[in-house]
Symmetry: C2
Subunit: 177 residues, 2 copies
DNA sequence: ATGATCAATGCAATTTATTGCATAACAAAA
DNA sequence: TTTTGTTATGCAATAAATTGCATTGATCAT
């Protein structure tokens, strides 16, 4: 279970609310972590009980109150010790591939439509990731050096999406012919 | 939940035991589905209760009995109707990227060691997938046509792994310099 | 005005997945 | 010869993730 550590990693960079974390996962960080809001809020509660994060309620004008969480020393300790152990390789469960594998039971039109739908999502993601990369590349060498590791993860998103698109285009061709 | 459908898809190709399915997922099909043995056995039981698959016990010499499951007409129906709906995009939760993102809290040696470990696993997988591809490419055009859709999923594995390796090599360089 | 979306959080129930433990017989390697 | 690995399955408990439902006040478009 590393939702816990995914959250700690983000809070170590910057104190955030559950909603902030959710947005990060849904937007820019979706290529490496995904979670529903309920999962995040529950986990934040547990992390607070365990003393790994602290919670402050911030009032806002015109908007609901915000609970801002901040990592504690003990949280940093937990994170550091987690980092010292090796992580499991990423589990893959891809329903699209299941569908294609059994695709002879449905029509090519159905398969193509499905692929096209996924394709447009992946294209959007790639554009977004490349925009973030462009911003990074405009930083000074010192700032680039500072954000090198997050940038490396961004590169994973970009290379992964590019490969996905290559595959999808090749597959669409193959199904059509 | 599409473990159910992943299993049905495989059983639609060929009757198998839970152990057979497990091996398929762990070996060749790991790039598109993963499950623990307990999950598979439980799911098979449920599918049998729902009448989507049938079970026959086969005795073997020198080996434990085998429960061979076969998809039923009703199972094919369920699968077909599942195929007619669109599937959700693949959820990604990659602990390795979490670790890299927060990598400033640990040593570069640790990060490099971790990357190298994952690298060797991915290399192995890629070699294995390419071997399967070679076999496919030696088939006659008719047989190739017949297995076109599974081949497309195999290509996803190959392109995905290649991109993963490219990324890892680039990342290792970046961390080292 | 009326419905949609965003901001922000939460409970409760259910479904899925993981972990730990257990069995049993054969084969191959150390 | 002892241990490790393969074949083959399972229960029970726990942990993690999803789904459904619910609130509130703002703003934005039709």
């Amino acid at each position: 279970m590393s939702l816990k550590h995914a959250i700690l990693v983000l809070l170590e960079t910057e104190p955030s609310s559950g909603y902030d974390l959710l947005k990060q996962f849904n937007n820019s960080l979706g290529y490496f972590w995904n979670a529903k809001h309920q999962q995040i809020y529950q986990q934040l509660k547990l992390l607070a009980i365990d003393g790994l994060i602290d919670c402050t309620t911030e009032e806002q004008q015109g908007k609901p109150d915000k609970k801002v969480y901040k990592i504690t020393t003990s949280g940093v300790g937990e994170l550091t010790s987690w980092l010292s152990n090796s992580v499991k390789p990423n589990k893959i469960n891809d329903a699209l591939l299941v569908k294609l594998y059994g695709g002879h039971l449905t029509s090519n039109e159905n398969l193509l439509k499905e692929l096209e739908n996924h394709l447009s999502l992946h294209k959007k993601t790639l554009i977004q990731l490349r925009q973030i990369e462009q911003k990074y590349l405009k930083f000074s060498p010192e700032v680039q050096e500072k954000y090198k590791l997050p940038y490396i993860t961004l590169r994973r998103g970009i290379l992964g999406e590019e490969a996905w698109l290559d595959w999808a285009l090749e597959s669409i061709k193959m199904i059509k012919k």
